[in-house]
């Protein structure tokens, strides 16, 4: 049976990382499933799922990646995925965008996400950014799904309390989907 794996890696950005990484996978006969790759300032990060073909093993993949590690400039970690782990998140859960911003200071992410965890809210996407300058602004945009029984309005009022304590501004918007 084919083996599914998740591969993660971070390395200093340069031209050709994705090309070289995907070439290794392709030459082994792997099929790419989902991936997310992005650049944060100078560091390029990869999270990728792939299927290793029959007759090849996770060790074959690890071996080829290890051989290329220095050239890639990226330490890569590979782990086998079970069938359950391959499943998509619950797509029926209602999604919201939580936008948080304020004068930069430590504790904004920890404070907001602790409250979200307490409420049973799942984070599906997290992005943060700090602006340059003398008075930097810290921004965080979260994509979240709510547990049964928690409404968008509840979420907003619970988060507003924490936001006030942290002296940040916050808004909660539902993700509008236009069915066409």
């Amino acid at each position: 049976m084919a083996v599914n794996v998740v591969l993660t890696g971070v390395g200093h950005d340069r031209v050709g990382i994705v090309a070289e990484l995907s070439k290794i996978l392709y030459e082994l006969g792997c099929n790419l499933l989902d991936s997310s790759m992005t650049l944060l300032r100078s560091e390029f990060a990869v999270i990728l799922m792939a299927q290793i073909p029959d007759g090849k093993s996770i060790d074959d993949l690890k071996e080829r990646l290890a051989a290329a590690e220095e050239r890639l400039g990226m330490s890569v970690f590979v782990r086998e995925l079970s069938e359950e782990e391959l499943d998509e998140e619950d797509e029926d859960a209602e999604a919201f965008i939580v936008s948080v911003y304020g004068a930069d200071r430590p504790g904004i992410v920890a404070g907001i996400t602790a409250e979200l965890a307490r409420l049973g809210v799942n984070l599906t996407d997290v992005e943060t950014r700090k602006t340059p300058g003398d008075r930097p602004i810290f921004m965080m945009v979260l994509e979240v799904t709510l547990p049964p029984g928690l409404s968008g309005d509840n979420l907003k009022s619970e988060l507003q309390t924490v936001a006030a304590e942290l002296q940040v501004d916050l808004s909660v918007n539902s993700v509008e989907v236009a069915d066409l």
């Binding site: 936008s99 950014r129 602006t131 921004m139 965080m140 945009v141 501004d169 808004s171 918007n173 993700v175």
Partner: protein, 181 residues
């Protein structure tokens, strides 16, 4: 007449909800002049809201004709106590803001709006605006309720950008350029 200092986020005064303008207020004419002078002092600026200058009254000025790359039909608008009557359509374009000088963002807003307001002469006007003019009015009206464009973005990666050039008025002209304040 004076160019007023503009509040820059994270100044919390930008998040206040502004109070209606008293049309009998004798300082109103001077305030309008100051706002116009403040807008005109920033190249590329096509609108400003009174609360950005720490005057928490429902007054905005918009003049899209200041940017020759943008389509407009109303020229200079001075809108006192503006109220959104209707909006339709959706459109996403890049906005800048004097109060968030390091950032620009892709913001989705209505394509067409109808706004009721009082003009400088004290008469009630109905403004039907579209495109960038509608966007500029909605952006400035948001300031009256303490809303900044960061409240209207859904992704930092795809919607929010560090500003590389400041208020030249020509950046991203294919997308309509920079919105006002």
């Amino acid at each position: 007449m004076a160019v007023l200092p503009v509040l820059v986020y994270p100044d919390s005064r930008l998040k206040k909800v502004s109070a209606p303008v008293d049309l009998e207020d004798e300082s109103l004419a001077g305030l309008i002049e100051d706002l116009l002078e403040t807008m005109n002092s920033s190249p590329g600026c096509i609108g400003i809201a009174a609360p950005q200058c720490d005057i928490h009254k429902r007054l905005i000025v918009v003049d899209v004709s200041r940017n020759p790359n943008m389509k407009q039909k109303h020229g200079l608008m001075i809108l006192i106590n503006p109220e959104l009557l209707s909006q339709s359509g959706k459109n996403t374009a890049r906005e800048g803001c004097l109060s968030l000088p390091h950032l620009t963002a892709n913001v989705t807003r209505a394509k067409r709006i109808s706004v009721k307001a009082t003009n400088r002469e004290g008469s009630e006007v109905i403004i039907d605006a579209s495109g960038f003019e509608a966007r500029a009015i909605l952006h400035e009206m948001d300031h009256l309720d303490g809303i900044l464009f960061l409240d209207r973005v859904s992704s930092l990666k795809t919607d929010v950008f560090r500003r590389k050039r400041y208020l030249t008025g020509t950046e991203d002209s294919d997308q309509g350029g920079q919105a006002g304040s």
